[in-house]
Subunit: 101 residues, 3 copies
């Protein structure tokens, strides 16, 4: 079956950031995302008093160019103020047209 | 520690498809899966009136050959009728015998 | 945007193991994790009477060296007694300092 190389961008942060992040993904032209409620623990340096808490994990499939733009946006707008982490990995998707590919 | 190269197949679709998809994975001889309730948004072209909704994410670890068969099955049986997406990536697993490897 | 090569370790097991696994990740010096409640099915050989049940998926970002130590620990302490699976894949993270990198 034919697959297409894309990027999966994963953003994890506090639950309250979900609506804003989802809206921003939409505005970036992302054509699909999933958000999952997770229980998470952050770096000790970031939230010294708590190792655990409710978080949201947002996953998006995007072209390499769009993934780069999303990550740059997250770094510039969230990293200073929030205990947000972001990472990216490679996936092979079916139906690339679903992802703007 | 010794690891083995396998594929992780991820299928995301509406929640109602879960029992059917899980049964099919079982019939394919998949020896383990996880399904996660996620909040998802689909392509604008697919569900024009809704950007968000409840979805299920099913993840399966399989050999490359089995992954290929699963993806072909999903493409042939779901893509025309449902807003299902599917993708695959590489993982290194411990205890390959747990995954039919 | 600058990213750093790290490993994502994923451990899936019965829900009751979560507190212990999270504590162990903390003791290993892991600076962030997410745990997700998933519905899972295990290998037929492991739990013959049940294909499905509640599980927890713990995901950790770590350096290759730490990932190796975590996987060795899981293999030595969980595989004999529990239906735990573990695998690892490659991710590119922003803010490596959040992950001990």
């Amino acid at each position: 079956v034919k697959t297409f190389a894309m990027k999966r961008v994963t953003i994890v942060g506090e639950k309250a950031l979900e609506p804003q992040l989802v809206k921003e993904m939409h505005d970036f032209g992302v054509t699909g995302y999933t958000s999952t409620v997770v229980h998470g623990g952050g770096a000790k340096g970031t939230r010294p008093s708590r190792w655990e808490g409710p978080n949201v994990k947002i996953e998006v499939i995007a072209s390499p160019e769009l993934a780069e733009r999303i990550l740059t946006h997250v770094a510039q707008n969230y990293f200073e103020k929030y205990a947000v982490i972001a990472f990216v990995d490679d996936v092979q998707v079916l139906r690339a047209e679903k992802f703007g590919g």
